[in-house]
């Protein structure tokens, strides 16, 4: 198979799991050989599609004059709501939607004359070159009878309501009587937190290349975090059988949640390709990326926290208000983390939504937990200051020894060790307990910390391992590597499981012709795919051991299979390691060119549910008990900020993150995940915001010059450490995800440090200079 990292040069010794192996796909990437979804330019007769999107946020298309565009050289087809081929099943129909594995919103544009948000596709031009298509698109005359839009939940025209459900969480949830607990609490804190709209902005925009290899055979090269989910959804929408669609994603230039779904352009490209009879490439422009693949919704949360005079939590009442689209009741579920993070006796949460002229917001790195952690972790900081406690102390005082939401014990939890290690690495003991005391020249210096946590989301998936007699191996799973290191860590896992050096392993992913596995999202891929590969390798050994003990010429002949083990590529007797032979010998004599194993890996509480393949030795009671664990990764962030009280600027001067997430497969790629998440969070804390015009409901800064993400100069040297954990319950490899937890708590750590520096609590993100100056005008 082409376009895969080849067998590679490695820098790690045998026994590579847990070693800082450099990326196996690094060479392919830096030399430009790695082909991304918009780079399949060799497809025969490839042509280009360009979207024309709506200027206005609400209205009806009254006419689209395509005549000037039609006349342009190279133009092959122009689609509008009047001639777009009908979908077999459409997101616009609630019944149809049930067939989709991955549909982010209940609306498909260009199915009618309705315009519901600025940037909504209203037409698509297909031409022989990108330039021809782009230019022709500018000649389309789209007439829209504009109506007055609603810009957000803050718009006076907006009306809010409590939905029945948001993302599987009830609109109102109660555990105990939190209202009463708050009312009677000796210490009561009430605060409201604001969050600006954020966009994922992966470096690689959304891109789909669709190639109909036959009328009933479609191959799609797509920027997706889940090839299987995209395959099923596309098949349903296009009226094909699942296996008639192949989806390929060999490399992804970042996803952060926005590439977890089948957005309109993913469907439009194959529709266009079918109509013109040629492969079609459709790439979103950067401005289109802002209205093409969702966003993190703007929101506010009010948290009412009741505690004893000693600082023990009694109850929390949480309310969130946010903007959603005209069709979906979508909100990130912030309440989850607030509910579980501490030993909290009573909790109540209510979601309020307001429909506005925007597309549905979507999963964005650590959805819910990220903004939820801002509210709870700032409020915990307030509690610490109010009672004169150290912020770590107040957290230890409320340490959750078990999951308060269901009473289950944790499958593993090393948060105390994270606090201790983080404090030590950071030098927390040097912190002045009073805020607003430390100066460095004109700058105010502050220390802050916060807790991080992210749940283990159940997922399952298959893998195949093929070991060749010459000691090479090919490993396959239809997973995606978001650029995070999946290629690398799975290579390591396979190498150790097969007892071969990592450079002998080639891991293939990102294709629906490979064993099916779930999407890379919710921080599930490392745990699930590593487990399935590990278990598939076990199957290879079982086959080889069987062959050896039945082979008269083998030193292991006649041994019980259960007495034979694999050690560094050698089959040998457990009791007498000297007796055995290399697997290649067994295979040679048996004329086996290769041996294959397949397995299903399970991540989360499904791992040990009855029926799971792994750990077949467990008895029924053990299995049921195992499924009764609560599974989360935990961690902590510490930071030092410098605030300029006259210029309002906040700069992060030092950073320490300590994470406990089961077994760390590769400290180098894990570290990259943690610093990536922390930087993303620093962006949200200090600068990232997408602004929608309050009257026209259109973004005013949909480009990377004005949507500010941190630059290198904003980021100090970062210290990252891990507390290694042994977790026998979470999956066969004992791995917990590290992707999303790394952003959780980051905004709070920064805000807590700003509070320590200035004595002012900023509760509105991002903390830009205008807000810092405003806060400093208020009395401390």
């Amino acid at each position: 198979m082409d376009n895969e990292p080849q067998f590679f040069e490695t820098n790690a010794a045998p026994g590579v799991v847990g070693q800082p192996l450099s990326r196996v796909d690094g060479w392919a990437k830096v030399t430009g050989q790695a082909r991304y979804s918009a780079e399949y330019n060799q497809l025969p007769g490839l042509v280009h599609a360009v979207l024309k999107t709506s200027d206005v946020a609400k209205g009806r298309v009254t006419s689209i004059d395509t005549s000037a565009a039609q006349r342009q050289p190279g133009v092959l087809a122009i689609f509008t709501h009047e001639n777009l081929p009908k979908l077999a099943k459409t997101p616009n129909n609630p019944d149809d939607r049930k067939a989709f594995a991955s549909s982010p919103m209940s609306f498909f544009p260009m199915a009618s004359d309705q315009v519901h948000y600025a940037g909504q596709p209203v037409a698509m031009v297909v031409a022989d070159t990108l330039e021809h298509a782009q230019y022709a698109a500018t000649l389309l005359k789209v007439n829209i009878a504009a109506e007055v839009p609603v810009s957000s939940y803050l718009d006076p025209k907006a009306t809010s309501y409590v939905p029945k459900n948001v993302k599987g969480t009830a609109g109102v949830t109660k555990r105990g009587d939190a209202q009463a607990a708050f009312r009677s609490a000796p210490v009561q804190l009430t605060a409201t937190y604001h969050h600006a709209t954020n966009h994922h902005n992966p470096m690689e925009p959304g891109a789909t290349t669709a190639h109909w290899e036959a009328p009933d055979r479609l191959t799609v090269y797509d920027t997706t975090q889940g090839v299987s989910e995209t395959q099923k959804t596309l098949a349903a929408m296009l009226g094909l059988a699942t296996e008639q669609v192949r989806v390929v994603t060999k490399y992804l230039g970042g996803g952060f949640g926005c590439k977890a779904w089948v957005w309109p352009h993913v469907v439009l490209a194959p529709l266009a390709a079918k109509a013109v009879g040629r492969p079609v490439k459709l790439v979103l422009t950067r401005p289109q990326q802002f209205t093409g693949m969702g966003h993190r919704e703007e929101q506010e949360q009010t948290l009412r926290l009741g505690a004893t005079k000693e600082g023990k939590l009694l109850g929390i009442v949480h309310e969130k208000t946010s903007t959603t689209s005209p069709w979906d009741d979508y909100a990130e579920t912030n309440s989850r983390i607030i509910n579980m993070l501490y030993a909290l006796p009573a909790f109540e949460s209510t979601y309020h939504l307001a429909k506005a002229s925007v597309m549905t917001s979507t999963s964005t790195r650590a959805p819910g937990d990220m903004p939820g952690s801002f509210a709870i972790e700032c409020s915990m900081d307030d509690l610490a200051y109010q009672l004169g406690l150290d912020p770590i102390q107040v957290r230890l005082l409320n340490y959750a020894e078990k999951d308060a939401t269901n009473g289950h014990p944790w499958s593993s939890k090393s948060l105390k060790q994270c606090y201790a290690r983080g404090a030590e690495l950071f030098g927390w003991s040097k912190r002045n307990p009073k805020n607003g005391q430390t100066r460095q020249g004109k700058l105010l210096v502050g220390y802050g910390m916060a807790t991080a946590s992210y749940p283990v989301h159940n997922s399952v998936g298959n893998a195949r391992v093929r070991l060749y007699a010459d000691g090479r191996a090919v490993v396959q799973a239809g997973a995606t590597d978001l650029g995070t290191g999946t290629y690398t860590i799975i290579t390591q896992v396979a190498a150790d499981a097969l007892g071969v050096p990592p450079e002998n392993v080639r891991f293939e992913l990102g294709d629906t012709i490979l064993p099916t596995t779930q999407w890379s999202g919710g921080s599930t891929a490392a745990g699930r795919v590593s487990s399935s590969v590990y278990l598939a390798a076990q199957e290879v050994w079982q086959k080889l051991i069987k062959a050896a003990v039945m082979d008269k010429k083998s030193p292991l002949y006649g041994a019980k299979a259960a007495d034979v083990v694999m050690e560094k590529g050698r089959l040998q007797l457990k009791a007498d390691p000297g007796k055995g032979e290399a697997f290649g010998e067994v295979m040679k004599r048996a004329s086996l060119s290769d041996v294959e194993g397949t397995a299903q890996g399970r991540y989360g509480s499904v791992y040990k549910e009855p029926g799971a393949t792994a750990d077949a030795n467990m008895n029924k009671e053990e299995k049921e008990a195992a499924a009764g664990y609560s599974m989360h990764a935990f961690g902590t962030h510490f930071c030092e900020v410098h605030v300029d009280p006259e210029l309002g600027t906040v700069r992060v001067a030092r950073w320490v993150s300590v994470m406990s997430a089961g077994r760390i497969l590769n400290p180098k790629t894990a570290r990259s995940q943690v610093i990536g998440g922390a930087i993303f969070g620093i962006g949200s804390a200090l600068m990232e915001q997408t602004v929608r015009d309050p009257n026209l409901a259109r973004y005013t800064n949909a480009d990377l010059a004005s949507y500010h993400v941190p630059v290198n100069a904003d980021i100090p040297n970062m210290t990252v450490d891990f507390i290694d954990e042994h977790d026998p319950h979470v999956n066969a490899m004992g791995v917990k995800g590290i992707g999303e937890i790394s952003i959780v708590g980051v905004t709070a750590a920064v805000a807590n440090a700003v509070f320590h520096a200035t004595g002012r609590r900023l509760r509105s993100l991002p903390m830009t200079p205008d807000k810092v100056l405003e806060a400093l005008r208020q009395p401390a």
Binding site: D55, V56, A118, E131, Q134, Y135, T138, P287, K442, E646, L647, G648, T649, R651, L686, M687, V691, D693, P694, N695, L696, R698, Y699, T700, N701, A702, D703, A705, S706, H708, P710, V711, N712, A713, D714, P766, T768, P769, D770, L773, E774
Partner: protein, 328 residues
Amino acid sequence: MNDFSYTQAASAKEATGRLKDQAQAAYIAGGTTLLDLMKANLQEHPQLVDINLLPFKGIEQTKDGLRIGALERMSVVGEHPLVVQAFPAISQSLLLAASPQLRNMASIGGNILQRTRCGYFRDAAFPCNKRVPGSGCPAQTGDNHNLAILGVSDSCIANSYPGDLSVALAAFDAVLTLENAKGKQRRVPLTEFYLLPGTTPQKETVLEPGELIVAVTIPTAAHTQRSTYLKVRERSSYAYALASAAVGLDVQAGTIRAARVALGGVGAQPWRSREAEQALVGQPATDATFRAAAAAALRGAQPREHNRYKVELAQNTLVRALQQVAAG
């Protein structure tokens, strides 16, 4: 982007002579502003004349002061020893701008002619008086967080020039040398080069169609040597100024003999503040003086809902810049 023809010219005469339609064609230097605008369909030009081969080069001391050719690159000028030593504020205004890649491409003439970053101007889907006269100015009641508070009008509140260099040039009495299609040269002080929006925000400078910027000359003085450019922005680099200040002081025995002050990020044009200078000259170089000067500079501010913070921020920025220069 529309189709356009492209030609290179080797001399000013050739460049102006090649223009088929002076009002429609455009010169291209580094292209870092022009191509962005064309790709976003905000400017359409049927013809581009590449002026990079023109001899508008050189960074040298002349009897009138420091002369910089309009086609010198931002990075080259910013790092030039003469500029670093004798005109620190100019060097800083260049090196704190944009990114290294952009500075390597971008020319001095192009920098002076860059256009506003107002989000409404930069997106053809919005109405905007500057782009489409008479269509309206949604920024007045919309997202005006980054926009100007001095010299603004009900037609437009954009920082027509959002960048840095011209702020320093405005402070230090720079003079532009322009050459028109007839080969005639004229000299225009930078402070008279930009136009306030009034009711015609589409008219941004006094440059005539087809006219070229040849060079910029900055008189050398004690206050150019003792100068600084301070830029406040939302991230540490690669962002436009929320507020900035170019200042130069000549302080003798604790008393300010001469002062130059211009503000960026807050004016409809690079904002030379003679009010601030008046408040400084003859006064002791103290914080009280600096604060009085800052107050004088912002006296005429007309903030809108989301840029009110700039009144305070610009004053603090100016005070800090003055403190830094006074401290040597």
